[in-house]
Amino acid sequence: MSDTNSTITLEIRARAGELLASGEVKAFLGFAEGSIPMATRPFIARTPEQAEKLVWNSFCVINPAGFLPEVLKSVEPSRGPKDPPPEGPLPRVGVVATGCWSRNMVVQMKENQVSRDRLVILGIGSRGMVSNKKVQAMVGGRDITAIEEGEHSLTVHCDGEKTEIHRWDVIRDNCRTCTHPDPVIFDYQIGDSAGERHIEDRYVQVDKIEAMSAAQRWQWFQNEISKCIRCYACRNACPLCYCPTCFVDDSRPQWVGKSTDPVDTSIFHILRAYHCAGRCTDCGACESVCPMGIRLRILTKKLEKDVLEMYGSEAGLDLEAPLPLATYTMNDPQQFIIKG
């Protein structure tokens, strides 16, 4: 483990342990070591001893915000559906948050999914997370038996050989173009601030596709989603997807077919992306969890770009600002309604 990661890991353990011991939080949501290389496991510590299992490394790709509503509920005293809410403040939950995750928490607060006063946030300036798919491609798809993380490099063990790769070469696309690596809200700072970053080619992946003809774009989209197996890992990993019944699961009426027919799969992906417009913080969880390696977040990145260009808004940066697609101003652009 690199020095940075081990410092952050120790600080998380110490702080989470204290919070749990003092009773300030009832549960702490972070990551534990995985059972295979390049994997971590979302982990909920409920005792100071369990906090010792928490880790921090470059493979924490799941957005913990997605678990928050469930974990918050799990620490509430149990009550029947018609019982009144308990008196006094409800127990709190601790959680780790990088830039994008904290912005998701802001969105959740604005959408009344979690409340600020029930969270104790350990803010971490993100150095970016690594894409296991990119690492896999670096070693030609061979079985990786171990991986060691240095400050700026990864040592990959494969067939008894060691391959050294530069960390930044295998960073996730969303992390490479991230402009807000520091958390926007937190109660305790863990490790050093990552600082604001200025990225020249923030929308490079989107620009490439925008430059195509409509037919080429459709071809690109169809090709990308042809691998989809409709497992819904993307949807379920997304903290923005919290509808009690998703439109794809609805059967009365049935909006979309259940199998992998290209029309049905297209509808699922287009609607999934649109539901995230103005709310997505490009945390990359959807793309990281996709077992088929579909580059899903290019769709949401396009919507991020549109919302920024049209409404000058970026999701989750400001707790007070209105949600861009849930408000209006007289000078909102309307080219998409009125031609000319």
């Binding site: 979302p42 896999q136 491609a137 079985d143 992998t260 969890v289």
Partner: protein
């Protein structure tokens, strides 16, 4: 059983000959090896085998997603409207090459619950499996802990093993014999081929017996003791309830059925379902007997490791490791084995 000796060029010839009359599928690589999955072979596109298994399991061929069971007219003016008719299917052999022993074994395991399923049986009859035994066990492989072997031949029609610089092909079934004949090359490997094969497997250090098969032990365990075990909460807690594990698993065979109507044509399809989805058990009344994540996660493992062996004998897992490799939150079935066996 006949064993043929083949050079690399003979293998290419076999595939080329088969392709003339049948669709042939095999694993190929793309994205610099980061994406390794089945594709239809054409002249010039040959298998590119990596250690371990391709992304999707072999069930894609025998239990396709979706499968049209019946077709019907939805035109009210048609006198035969809404009368179900079997779709026209050609009785054609599909050849799947480069199958790993774990995937091949899954085909036989799924045939147990599907023994009376006409669709599965029909596809099974029209599919030939040509396997490649494993020389390497990947970090997520665990076939020997499920009753299988890296050199196992169960479910295969032909099993090919590399020996030195040539290949030995065990012709295991009648279908295999037809394929070997159609390949029009290969020489008899001699009477002692099988013992040489076994000796070479022993020498390579590859496991020769599946001593760790948990099925007999799990069958004897008290069902309720496993069901009420304290560890389920911890296992289920990180689960996203997505279907990545079940859809990539070769031995997950649950499905749902729907009628789809587009304009005046309709079809009855069956498509993969997953016990990880809350909808899987939702009753029309609104009641859901497995409404909680813990209940769904527990069911997935109990089905594979307790209910299935009680009913059919073996456990419903072949140790391919796909669920471990692709689980977004690293739920590792090997840990569940260990937990269950410790009860």
């Amino acid at each position: 059983m006949k064993i043929l000796k083949l050079e690399k060029s003979d293998l290419d010839k076999w595939l080329a000959e088969w392709m003339k009359s049948s669709p042939v599928y095999a694993p190929v690589q793309s994205g610099f090896g980061s994406f390794y999955d089945w594709a239809r072979l054409e002249q010039g596109r040959m298998p590119e085998l990596l250690p371990g298994v391709p992304k999707s399991s072999i069930k894609t061929f025998l239990f396709p997603q979706p499968e049209t069971l019946e077709e019907f007219s939805a035109d009210p003016a048609d006198p035969s409207a809404f009368i179900l008719k079997a779709p026209k299917t050609a009785e054609q052999l599909t050849i799947i090459a480069g199958v790993r022993p774990c995937d091949a074994r899954s085909v036989s395991l799924n045939a147990l619950p599907y023994a009376k399923d006409p669709y599965y049986s029909n596809r099974l009859r029209n599919t030939a499996l040509v396997g490649f035994t494993c020389e390497t066990q990947c970090s997520t492989c665990f076939c020997t802990r499920t009753g299988g072997l890296p050199t196992g031949t169960e479910g295969l029609d032909i099993a090919i093993t590399r020996m030195d610089n040539t290949f030995l092909a065990e012709i295991l079934t009648q279908k295999g014999e037809l394929l070997a004949e159609a390949g029009r090359t290969g020489t008899d490997a001699g009477g002692d081929a099988l013992s040489r094969l076994e000796q070479s497997r022993k020498n390579s250090g590859s496991p020769v017996s599946s001593a760790d098969d948990p099925a007999p032990i799990l069958r004897e365990k008290d069902l309720m003791a496993l069901y009420q075990a304290p560890f389920w909460q911890e296992i289920a807690e990180p689960c996203l309830n997505c279907g990545a594990c079940t859809f990539l698993c070769p031995t997950c065979y649950c499905f749902d059925i729907q009628d789809e109507v587009i304009r005046d044509r309709g079809r009855r399809i069956r498509y993969w379902d997953s016990c990880m989805f809350p909808l899987f058990t939702l009753h029309a009344s609104g009641h859901n007997p497995r409404g909680l994540k813990l209940q769904r996660v527990r069911n997935r493992f109990m089905h594979k490791l307790k209910y299935f062996p009680e009913r059919f004998g073996p456990i419903s897992c072949v140790g391919c490791g796909r669920c471990i490799r692709e689980c977004p939150v690293n739920i590792d079935i090997r840990e569940v084995y260990t937990d269950l066996l410790a009860i």
